[in-house]
Symmetry: C2
């Protein structure tokens, strides 16, 4: 299996954990020299904490794993295009490569609304690879919102 | 004393803690109904963690203090205009009001390079108040970088 697909599947497993907690299903993993050193899934409501996005949790774990604030030889895999906070956090951690599954047309800052991952004025820009396991990543999110709408109609 | 000045002085005390750790001196406090419910100062090198910016540490503490990911009745005081990660985190936490001491012309995302605090496409925009204790906030940062340059010349 292609390496990008393999690690995106790992990010999808994280996203499914969020789904089971009734959280918007977004997952992330950070890979360093072929090993996953950080994992995270959206836990915003569960943790009652606006910082508890998949990417932030994964970056925190990865910094602890390698004992450095610079994740310079890492790739982050995210099921969804990042929000401004997470895109900014990825740049702050100097992650060279960002792979995401599907775009977030109304809230994505990896190219949709803005591209915070590649700002010329900053001292770090990320390589972006899109559309890895796009169908699975997109279906998971769509199912989640479809279920919410259907629950709201019942109530 | 004007309320904004009072709380910016508290943020400056946080920034001084960073200074004493040889970290770029940036501090933040979050105020809810007249009380400080979150404090933070830059600890990136000390913690070996790219997330350990003043604002992120303060938001984390504030969410725990009020048990909600929404900091809807809060004001954040920051000695320096925020980076993209922190500006995004402030928007994610739906903080209504952002007060900062001085601009960061080369890395600020509260109006200098971009204005992530007021993006029309998102469902939250912050009020921005600038130049509170500007001289003190600016001098602290300038002193820090002057000392670094002077240390580097000695070595």
């Amino acid at each position: 299996m292609n390496e990008h697909i393999l690690f995106m599947k790992a990010a999808l497993l994280e996203a499914e954990k969020a789904y089971h907690l009734d959280e918007t299903p977004i997952g992330a993993v950070i890979v360093h020299q072929g090993n996953i050193i950080g994992r995270g899934y959206n836990r915003r409501n569960t943790d009652k904490n606006s910082l508890a996005h998949a990417e932030i949790i994964a970056i925190n774990e990865a910094c602890q794993a390698i004992g450095d604030w610079r994740l310079e030889e890492c790739t982050i895999y995210i099921t969804l295009e990042p929000c401004p906070m997470c895109a900014g956090a990825i740049v702050q951690a100097r992650v060279p490569s960002v792979v995401f599954g599907t775009r977030s047309p109304k809230a994505g800052f990896g190219g949709s609304i803005m591209n915070i991952l590649q700002i010329n004025e900053l001292n770090h820009q990320c390589e972006i690879i899109e559309d890895i396991c796009k169908e699975e990543c997109s279906t998971l999110i769509k199912d989640y919102f479809k279920n919410i709408r259907s629950k709201n109609n019942i109530l």
